[in-house]
Symmetry: C2
């Protein structure tokens, strides 16, 4: 059985480590020393409590973790696959931290990749370790679980995505790597390349517009609301659908056959009961979202991650491909003001990936054969 | 004492008619036959019930109206001043309806003007009555009252704006007309021209962003909220402030010294208790807004009037004057999707006023001397 390393200390990292450990894998988990508090309780107990809500193909339990540590050398040593389960803005930090420690034989999985995550990761490793062969990267189109962390020793999970797409970077290694991936997650599907996984990121099409269009409610000191079930009203869903159309057109121009966010959600969660003919119908009653309350602040990854690492690359690509993206631009402008940050200057636009002047053909070649 | 005609049958027209009649003016009110139901009860009783909430310089009472009618000839005959108190999208209807009935000696007051209301009104009269001298028009920067209609026989009012600005069209007649206006509303102030009143429209800077950024809440079937007191959270107000900055820059480029929306609200409502250092502070506790619940639909004048007759002219002017308006554009895009209408193709952009190719100097000349 493959040996697994999980980097990160948030919701996703904890659920990943706990689920895989409960399924019999040998798992290490590693957080940066700066955020040691994120793993303090689990480290003390040597285990993570996982609570499953709903009818998921995973089990609740106390998961025994091999190593819970802030020492990346110890965490990464002898691991076959390393899952980097952190928000996009933290991928860079882990890439730099692990650059000289990862070995070329290890597989590095970015879960999710967000747009261009593996390209950025590879660039950092290349710069830090000149002449060293790079590992192969994998991008998940989204995080496979949906859930939250209660404290540093326990998590709950209410959604588990089936048929999630994955791609390798460089893309030509997918057939070589895929069997290992499905030995861990049997429901995964192959995507054509990391542009497909990057552009299939439903976080980017959903989180920012739903949050922006519920701003007064988000800041109300006494009133909470369910993010999808209440926040995604019919008209809010129409805005998200229009953003989704802009995304689909970008994919079409790149020759990538993307499917709609509505159909992605059904594909992932149909077995949990997701259904409907419109995005509104699907989101507002999806059992996987029953527990998802809206954040009470705009300083949250729904803006700070999903705009700079999702919507801004889409806006950039739109310009290169001459696809108009008026609603994507509108949400970027509004989110920048709601957060009081210039989100365009942060994060990962094509310029930061060295792709600002690239044409469609070069871009497709780059994701196929790598740097 | 001046004889007054009021055209319209909504909140504003009823409050205007009732207040002026209670203050001793002889008042007619006229609604179109199509919307006769708007005046049915008042017509039967011959009066309107006005209820004042809060400490306003106007009185509650049963206001006896001279004529309540759907016959515009009867309503307009022998009137010195005609107040057109309708949403911007209805101004055109009343202009065409009354074109051959208004006399050049009458003053036609658009309350509010919205951007370009008097220019459009004048164009319609000119086309319908070639060779006839045009009346002088007056634009109010906003409606002087804030309140709502309960049924077709009664209204309540919770805000009365002091120091409201007015301009004439053509602009050069302001000193001639102003004494008549302040014989009705003593607190009015002079604006330099109808560009100043049009661009001082706080409805355009506030209504659409606050509504858009509370969309999920608006559509929630059980949950209402106070539009300004709850819907205008600190971050929502920041978005409105940025829109306001774009508006102020347009004014600056035109050589018009606009003041901020925050300062306008304080100027109008300070005597009622409005105060604060930020737009959020001013709006979220303004006593004049204590009763203002948010609409439960997007098919509402906050979008259907304030976007096409407020934000779109601002976006147009921005292009002519090379002032960037990213947030105005963002709200137009989102409102178009929330209403499922192409709001740019409706209403009153500069093209529909024959001003698409106009330069700054021509525009200023036009509002000074008229068509």
């Amino acid at each position: 059985m493959l040996k697994i390393g999980v980097l990160g200390g948030g919701n996703g990292a904890f659920i990943t480590a706990a689920d895989l450990a409960l399924r019999g894998f040998n798992v290490n988990i590693c957080e940066t020393p700066r955020f040691e508090r994120n793993i303090a309780l689990a480290k003390e107990k040597g285990k993570i409590k996982l609570e499953v809500r709903g009818n998921l193909p995973i089990k609740s339990g106390f998961a025994k973790i091999n190593k819970i540590t802030t020492d990346i050398k110890e965490a990464v040593k002898d691991r076959d696959i390393i899952f980097v389960v952190v928000p996009a803005f933290a991928q860079k930090i882990f890439a730099e931290w692990g650059a000289e420690i990862f070995s070329p034989e290890q597989i590095i999985v970015l879960e999710p990749g967000n747009f261009g995550g593996s390209l950025e990761f590879a660039e950092i490793l290349k710069k830090k370790c000149v002449n060293k062969k790079l590992p192969i990267f994998v991008e998940f189109e989204c995080m496979i679980y949906s859930g939250f962390k209660n404290d540093s020793g326990s998590v709950w999970v209410s959604g588990y995505k089936k048929n999630l797409k994955v791609a390798t970077y460089p893309g030509e290694f997918i057939n070589e790597i895929f069997p290992k991936l499905i030995s861990i997650y049997p429901d995964l599907e192959k995507a054509s390349n990391v542009l497909e996984t990057g552009l299939s990121n439903t976080n980017a099409t959903l989180h920012a517009p739903i949050l922006a269009l519920n701003s007064g409610w988000v800041e109300h000191k006494d009133k909470n609301f369910l993010f999808y079930w209440e926040g995604c009203s019919p008209a809010v869903a129409r805005v998200a659908e229009k953003i989704d159309l802009e995304r689909l057109l970008i994919g079409k121009e790149l020759g990538i056959n993307l499917i709609s966010t509505k159909d992605i959600i059904i594909k992932w969660y149909e077995y949990q009961g997701a259904k409907g003919n419109t995005l509104y119908e699907v989101l507002s009653k999806n059992p996987a979202y029953e527990w998802d309350y809206a954040p009470k602040t705009f300083q949250h990854r729904f803006f700070l991650e999903d705009v700079p690492y999702g919507m801004i690359p889409m806006e950039n690509l739109g310009k290169i491909l001459k696809v108009k993206t008026p609603l994507i631009t509108a949400i970027i402008e509004i989110a920048s003001r709601l957060t009081n940050q210039d989100l365009r200057s942060e994060g990962r636009d094509l310029r930061s990936l060295g792709l600002q002047d690239v044409c469609k053909e070069k871009l497709l070649e780059r994701v196929r054969i790598g740097v």
